[in-house]
Every structure is written in structure tokens, then in C-alpha cells.
């Protein structure tokens, strides 16, 4: 059983790390604020989500698992709110088309 759990952990955390890497590359390479935000939210939502998913099989108790999931949910909430706020400020700053 522990082998199966470890395989799930390694696969999911690696996938999460890939999304963090992709998000960082996007943040550095994309041309404007909105596309950079788009890249960043992939790291926050999918990257953190996959890392949490990978850590869940390693949680020793139900309580630890729930704590991990609530960290992800709070991360989602914070990421979604902040990117909305940044995007609005960025659109107000740009000249009207």
C-alpha cells in the first residue's frame, strides 16, 4: 500500500512542480500584465492543488488532510482575489481603445 501511496505522491507533486515551473516561465516571458497573471494563476491553482493532492496520501490523520485541503482552498481564494484586483488596476492604467 505504501508503495502505491508513494507513487501517487511522486507523480502528483512532480506534476505540481511542472505547473509551478511553467507558471514562472510564463511570468518571466509573457508580454503584458494580463497574460502574466494568466500564467501565475496556473501555478497557484493547479500547481498548489497537485502538490496538496500528492501530499494527501502521506497525511497521518484526517485532520492533517483537511488542513492541507483548506490551505489549497485559501490559496485559491487569495490568488483569485489578488489577480482580479491587479487585473482591474492594470486595465484602468492602460489607454482606452
Amino acid at each position: 500500500m505504501s508503495l502505491v501511496r508513494d507513487i501517487i505522491t511522486i507523480a502528483a507533486v512532480s506534476a505540481g512542480a511542472f505547473f509551478f515551473l511553467a507558471g514562472t516561465v510564463g511570468l518571466l516571458r509573457f508580454p503584458d500584465t494580463l497574460t502574466r497573471l494568466h500564467a501565475l494563476t496556473k501555478a497557484d491553482n493547479l500547481g498548489l492543488g497537485l502538490v496538496v493532492l500528492g501530499l494527501l496520501p502521506q497525511a497521518t490523520s484526517l485532520r492533517d488532510g483537511l488542513k492541507l485541503i483548506s490551505i489549497w482552498l485559501l490559496g485559491l481564494l487569495a490568488g483569485a482575489t489578488v489577480s482580479q484586483l491587479i487585473a482591474r488596476t492594470a486595465r484602468q492604467g492602460e489607454p482606452a481603445k
Binding site: 485559501l74 481564494l77 482575489t81 484586483l85
Partner: protein, 313 residues
């Protein structure tokens, strides 16, 4: 080299790089962002050193509330415009650089000259944990073994808030700190400020409560409560209270006041100042901490809100 060691080396290199960048960068805003990232990474270093209590405080103060304070200062400096006349001269800058290098060298020397193994009271603190009935050695040290330091630290917080208030103009004395924030009532920020505080208050109280036996405590919990309060203020859902209000001043002195009363009680009934009777040690400590978490939350919130700017009328 193991993965953990490689991670630590990389972490140390990034922290050093960020530190240098924060000093070298010209824009105050960029320096602030660098400092916040620096604080969060230093918190990771504390976790690697198994000092989770310190890590929580560093993340809350160095990365969170300190960052907001510096961002506010940077915004004010930018509004004020560049003041070329006030830029320090070459002599001042060279002297400051020499003093900084000397301080850094003295600190590095002190760390390198420490005897190995370093003298420590940690085993004694752990061995005497049963004296208070609390399992977290850090809380034991803060609230019992070195309670005097913690009490004085709370008095320093009180002095800091008096220092901030004394910047108020005469006609705003006793009034509301900071500007009145306005936000779109149907906007994202207001939505977050309605959704997050119930969760944040539970987390803050949990971190305070679990501090008896696990990493956490009144300071970390109080910082979270303060940030929830500030979120509601920044979204315009509530206004900062006038600093002349009696209930507010009562909360601000509640923590150190109760600490002092219990300390004097120790002098009166027991062996020494701040000596708790062993049977009542845990309830007394918890009582002081309940008063302290309120004081810390109010103090940190008001420190960030700034000097009173608007009179009550």
C-alpha cells in the same frame, strides 16, 4: 550532497541574493517587495531549523504586516515626490556604509567565535516543562521562565503606538487613524473582506490556543486577527475607531496590565515577581494570553492604521 542539503544551500543563496538586491535596488517600492519575499524565505529557513514558532512570527510580521507598513511608507514617499535636497551627502553615505560593514563583521565574528557546542538552556527548559503544564517549550520560556522579557516587550508595543499617535496634528488628536477607505461595494475586495474574516478569526484563535502544546501563540494569533481587522478596514466595511475611545485604550493596556497584576500577585502571595503558583500556572498563563492576544491584535492593527488624521466630528 543529499536533497535536503542541496535545498538548504539553494535557499541560503536565494535569501542572500534577495537581501543584497533589496539593499541595492533604487526604487523604494521594489525594495519593499524584495523585503517581503525575503521575510517569507527567512521563515522557510526557520522551519528548516525546527523553529516553527519563530517561522510563524517571521511570516506574519516580516512578510505580512511589516510588508504592508513598508508599502504604505513607500506610497507616501512617492506621493511626496523626490526630494533631492534631502539626499544624504557622500560623507554620510560612506560613514553609514562603514558602520554597516563593521556591524555585520562584528555579528559574523560573534557567531563564528561561539563555543562548539554552543551554551544552551534548551534541555533545562524542556526538562522543567511539567512546572507549568504546557507542552510547548517556547510558550513555557515566553510566558513562565522569561516572562519578564515578554511583559516588557508588550510595554514596548504600547510605547510604539504612543509614538505613532504623537505624529497626529492637533485638530485630529483622539480622532480616526488613517484615511477612510472606499471600495466598490460589489467588488472583489469587499467580497474577500466579507468571506475571509470568519475563517481568519477561527485560524487566529486556533493558533493562539494550540500554542500551549504546539507551535503557535498569542503573538502569531494576534497578528492574524489584526490582519483580518485591517482587511475589513481597507475594504471600507468598517472605519478605524477614534483613538480617544476608552474601550480601545482599555484593550491596549489589558495585556501588559494583567501581566503586571499577576506579576505583583506573585510578589504578594508567592516567591517572587511573576512567580506563578504551580497549581494555577496554566490557567494564569492562559488568562494573560487571552488578554495579550486582544492587545496584540489591536496594537498591530492600529500601528498599521497610522497616526490619527480625522477628528471625531
Amino acid at each position: 550532497m543529499s536533497i535536503a542539503a542541496a535545498f538548504e544551500v539553494a535557499l541560503a543563496a536565494v535569501v542572500l541574493g534577495l537581501g543584497i538586491w533589496t539593499i541595492a535596488v533604487r526604487e523604494t517600492y521594489s525594495a519593499t517587495v524584495g523585503f517581503v519575499a525575503y521575510g517569507l524565505l527567512v521563515a522557510l529557513i526557520w522551519v528548516r531549523l525546527d523553529a516553527v514558532d519563530v517561522a510563524l512570527t517571521e511570516a506574519a510580521i516580516g512578510g505580512g504586516l511589516g510588508g504592508v507598513l513598508l508599502l504604505g511608507a513607500a506610497a507616501r514617499l512617492r506621493d511626496a515626490g523626490p526630494t533631492a535636497a534631502e539626499a544624504p551627502g557622500k560623507v554620510v553615505r560612506v560613514t553609514a556604509a562603514i558602520l554597516s560593514v563593521l556591524t555585520a563583521a562584528a555579528l559574523a565574528g560573534a557567531v563564528l567565535l561561539l563555543p562548539d557546542p554552543a551554551p544552551t538552556l534548551a534541555p533545562k527548559a524542556v526538562a522543567n516543562a511539567s512546572a507549568t503544564g504546557l507542552a510547548n517549550p517556547v510558550t513555557n520560556v515566553l510566558m513562565a521562565f522569561r516572562a519578564m522579557d515578554t511583559m516588557l516587550e508588550k510595554v514596548v508595543l504600547l510605547l510604539a503606538i504612543i509614538g505613532v499617535w504623537s505624529l497626529a496634528p492637533d485638530d485630529a488628536w483622539g480622532g480616526h487613524p488613517g484615511p477612510r477607505h472606499q471600495a466598490d461595494p460589489l467588488g472583489v475586495l469587499v467580497f474577500l473582506a466579507r468571506l475571509l474574516p470568519p475563517i481568519g478569526i477561527v485560524v487566529g484563535i486556533y493558533i493562539f490556543w494550540t500554542g500551549a502544546n504546539h507551535p503557535g501563540g498569542a503573538f502569531q494569533g494576534g497578528a492574524i486577527l489584526a490582519s483580518m481587522w485591517l482587511l475589513a478596514i481597507m475594504a471600507g466595511l468598517t472605519d478605524t475607531p477614534p483613538v480617544g475611545r476608552r474601550w480601545l485604550r482599555f484593550i491596549l493596556v489589558a495585556g501588559p496590565g494583567l501581566f503586571l497584576v499577576v506579576g505583583l500577585g506573585g510578589l504578594w502571595f508567592g516567591a517572587a515577581f511573576l512567580a506563578y503558583p504551580p497549581a494555577q500556572a496554566k490557567p494564569l498563563i492562559l488568562g494573560i494570553e487571552v488578554a495579550m492576544i486582544l492587545t496584540i491584535a489591536a496594537t498591530l492593527g492600529l500601528l498599521l492604521a497610522g497616526a490619527p488624521e480625522r477628528s471625531v466630528k
